[in-house]
């Protein structure tokens, strides 16, 4: 038995690819060493966000966000899709300049945003510290419970005939087949490496490193925050080449819980919780939101962002292969960009013209 496509990885990226490929009538098998949504996907925040750190990132996030909005209309409530919007918080006047720049950039790219002054910011989020200069509200951003969303995508694929094999580790990917740990081989016309932070182990051509993150979640405090709040310094943290960085990033969950992020660490390969990072993260958060101090934290966890050198994912054919593709390396945006990734890759496999230009994401770039 040969499949049109074998997908390695049942994270949100693999699941999205499976859903789109089966929609187009292809026969698909999905293989995962663990279970559905048990890798980085289980750890993420689920913020569906348009990011302007590069034109290519903007294009992919904007495209993906449109796809999420369409999907939201059919997703069950358990996916907890909420249009909470994002506020990028500016601490001082210098950051307000950045707010204005961002506002212009989004405008020229077709996204309406709203500049908030000090007072408007406090009105929008009364629990923020006094004295913050303002912010930028991006109303179109949203939040999803990515675990159930991944299962939803996978169920869609399975309903269209996809075969899902969990607990199945792949040891090599080749033109025409994949090899399992036990030596068995599964034939497939096309192979997609969607193994997230572990994709380079199967495809050394991909330069993906694990970038560890910590998150803290609280008990339920309905209406404590209403938007996803991110400090404008976030991009410095996301792009800094420093080993460790933290940034203020909080999210309202539909359960009333407050999810607090986030840290970024290279070179930390185990999932252990690092107290000093957690302290730095909370200290940063208290500067922006002093009342967070009093909330009860119920759980802390860590996860690995699959990071590439230029912060863009690998989507497309892997150099040196005829039919082996990458869909990996989505760093801290993989929940958002999973849907765009799946469409782009499907278009490439089917030889169709994609909705956005794929060059910037090709593994051979």
């Amino acid at each position: 038995m040969s499949y049109d496509v074998a997908i390695i990885g049942a994270g949100i990226v693999g699941a999205a690819c499976a859903a789109v490929l089966t929609r187009e009538g292809m026969s698909v098998i999905v293989l995962d060493a663990g279970g559905v949504a048990t890798g980085s996907t289980a750890a993420g925040m689920g913020h569906i966000v348009v990011m302007d750190d590069s034109e290519a990132q903007f294009a992919l996030t904007q495209y993906s966000q449109k796809l999420w909005k369409k999907l939201a209309a059919e997703m069950p409530v358990s996916c907890e899709f909420e249009h909470c919007g994002t506020i990028w918080v500016a601490a001082d006047d210098e950051e307000m300049d950045e707010v204005r720049r961002k506002h212009e950039f989004y405008k020229t790219h077709g996204i309406a945003t709203e500049i908030l002054d000090e007072k408007a910011l406090r009105e929008a989020e009364p629990n923020l510290a006094e004295g913050l200069a303002g912010g930028l509200r991006v109303a179109g951003d949203s939040v999803v419970y990515q675990l159930t969303a991944t299962t939803y995508l996978m169920d869609k694929a399975v309903a269209k005939g996809a075969v899902l094999k969990t607990g199945t580790r792949i040891v090599s990917v080749n033109d025409g087949d994949v090899e399992l740990e036990n030596g068995a081989v599964i034939a497939a016309g096309n192979v997609i490496n969607a193994a997230g932070a572990f994709a380079s182990e199967l495809s050394p051509e991909l330069n993906i490193k694990k970038r560890k993150g910590h998150l803290v979640i609280t008990e339920r405090y309905p209406n404590f925050v209403s938007h996803q709040l991110i400090e404008l310094g976030y991009l410095k943290s996301a792009h800094g080449k420093d080993a460790d960085s933290v940034a203020f990033n909080v999210q309202p969950r539909s359960t009333g819980q407050v999810l607090l992020g986030s840290s970024r660490q290279f070179g930390a390969e185990t999932s252990e919780i690092d107290n000093s990072i957690v302290s730095r993260m909370t200290a940063r958060a208290f500067e922006y939101m002093p009342k967070l101090r009093d909330l009860a934290a119920v759980r802390i966890w860590t996860g690995f962002r699959p990071a590439t050198p230029d912060n863009l994912p690998y989507i497309g054919k892997i150099p040196g292969f005829e039919n082996v593709y990458a869909a990996a390396g989505h760093e801290g945006l993989g929940i958002t960009t999973s849907l765009g990734t799946a469409e782009l890759l499907t278009d490439e496999i089917l030889g169709r013209k994609p909705a956005i230009s794929p060059e910037a994401y090709l593994p051979g770039r």
Binding site: T38, F286, D294, I300
Partner: protein
């Protein structure tokens, strides 16, 4: 952050922890610190009695501890490890780091709850839970109360409730009469326990003790109509017959589950739900000991002896520790019989229906988790066990219902103010 350094740190001020502290303090060269998350020492059985303690044994222990040179820190709840040799505890004023050379974990046990239709209704409580409420001032005079579940705690609670003038309608014990007879016979070898058992029983004259019986479901049909009848309507099963009783309260508990989260967090080996220890109560981690309920549900005497052995051993007095091995042998046997006598029957796995809530914190129903293969998958997809109690209640239930093993514990093992993280 405050920091306290000590030679021997003991977590848990129940029978095991107090006894460990006292034994360890026999070595005058060592600094001993005992911490507990309650305002008072005493643990599950002696805590509320303190100040008016009836048990001479407890009194002796507490006086010795309080007059000794043991540092006692109340209201401190350990929630994480800070460094290799230190723990973090939350206190009313913030957080404190406790640095130690040796650690004794004596974190006790909690009640096991099993789900059946109606178990989350108001006035359906844990057996120990209702007892605690009454100790805290709840008036149960003339209230109709059914005590149900399994284990010796049911008798103790029923007796206590009677002493507070409650009308205890029945004790429904799920285990079989045969199991219980074997257990009672075994008690001849644990004389003080036997005396305790008889005393309890005799006080309970007038309360039917029904073996082979359990609560199938509870409803509260009268509540909405504003009627004055007792709020609960309880359906029992016994020998394939069912019948119903009206009552004001249902006190339901299914024996105890050990608090192994701290040991697990520190990397101590946990086997079949209990912390694995050697003859000196040493865990698989160097310099970490464990005593009392986390190593096996054995009741207060086992806790006292294990505490003693751990305390002496940690204080480098292995010879003295050895002197108590024989006693532990006896209490260990008792614990084994106890757990065999009150083993849960399979029928209890089938009480919940699809709508029965399993995880109270996150409102997760039986129907929504029964098809998952592991606790982690169920948790990620449904949030079962992700709430404020951190799976302490539903974890024990899903272990029994589905055979799902507990995850390794992660900090914080208790909810903690963000500032204290």
């Amino acid at each position: 952050m405050n920091k306290i350094s000590t030679d021997i740190l003991i977590i848990g001020g129940g029978a095991a922890g107090m006894s460990a502290a006292l034994a360890a303090s026999s070595n005058r060269d060592l600094g001993i610190t005992l911490i507990d998350d309650n305002p008072r020492l005493g643990g599950q059985i002696w805590r509320a009695e303190l100040g008016k303690t009836k048990s001479p044994e407890a009194l002796k222990l507490i006086t010795a501890i309080e007059s000794g040179r043991i540092g006692i820190v109340n209201n401190a709840q350990v929630f994480a490890a800070q460094n290799e040799n230190s723990l973090l505890a939350q206190t009313p004023t913030g957080s404190t780091e406790f640095e130690y050379q040796k650690l004794i974990i004596a974190t006790g046990a909690r009640e096991r709850f099993l789900p059946f239709p109606g178990w989350t209704l108001p006035n359906v409580l844990g057996a120990g839970g209702l007892q605690a409420l009454v100790k805290g001032g709840l008036n149960v005079e003339n209230k109709l109360i059914v005590v149900a579940g399994t284990g010796p705690l049911l008798l103790a609670v029923a007796e206590y409730l009677k002493s507070k003038e409650a009308n205890v309608v029945a004790i429904a014990e799920q285990t079989s009469a045969a199991n219980l007879r074997r257990f009672a016979f075994g008690l001849w070898r644990s004389p003080s326990k036997l005396a305790q058992g008889i005393a309890l029983r005799s006080k309970l004259i007038g309360v039917p003790y029904l073996t082979d019986s359990w609560v199938e479901s509870v409803s509260s049909p009268h509540v909405s109509k504003g009627s004055t009848s007792a709020p609960l309507n309880i359906t029992f099963t016994r020998n394939r017959k069912t019948w119903t009783i009206d009552a004001d309260y249902l006190a339901s508990g299914f024996h105890l589950v050990p608090n192994t989260e701290l040991a697990s967090l520190l990397g101590c080996r946990v086997e079949n739900s209990f912390v694995a220890v050697d003859e000196f109560q040493r865990t698989s981690c160097e310099n970490i000991y464990c005593a009392g309920e986390p190593t096996g549900i054995g009741g207060v005497e086992a806790s006292l002896i294990e505490g003693k052995i751990a305390g002496f051993a940690a204080a480098d007095n292995e010879a003295e520790a050895r002197l108590h091995f024989a006693e532990r042998e006896k209490t260990g046997k008792f614990a084994e019989r106890l757990n065999r006598a009150f083993a849960l029957r399979d029928e209890l796995k089938h009480l919940a229906d699809d709508d029965t809530i399993i995880c109270r914190c996150e409102d997760v129903s039986y129907g929504s988790i029964r098809d998952f293969d592991s606790r982690r998958e169920a948790k990620l997809q449904t949030r079962c066990g992700m709430g404020a109690c951190q799976g302490r209640i539903c974890g024990a239930a899903t272990e029994f219902l589905f055979g799902w093993e507990a995850d390794t514990a992660r900090p914080p093992i208790f909810p903690v103010r963000m500032e204290n993280l």
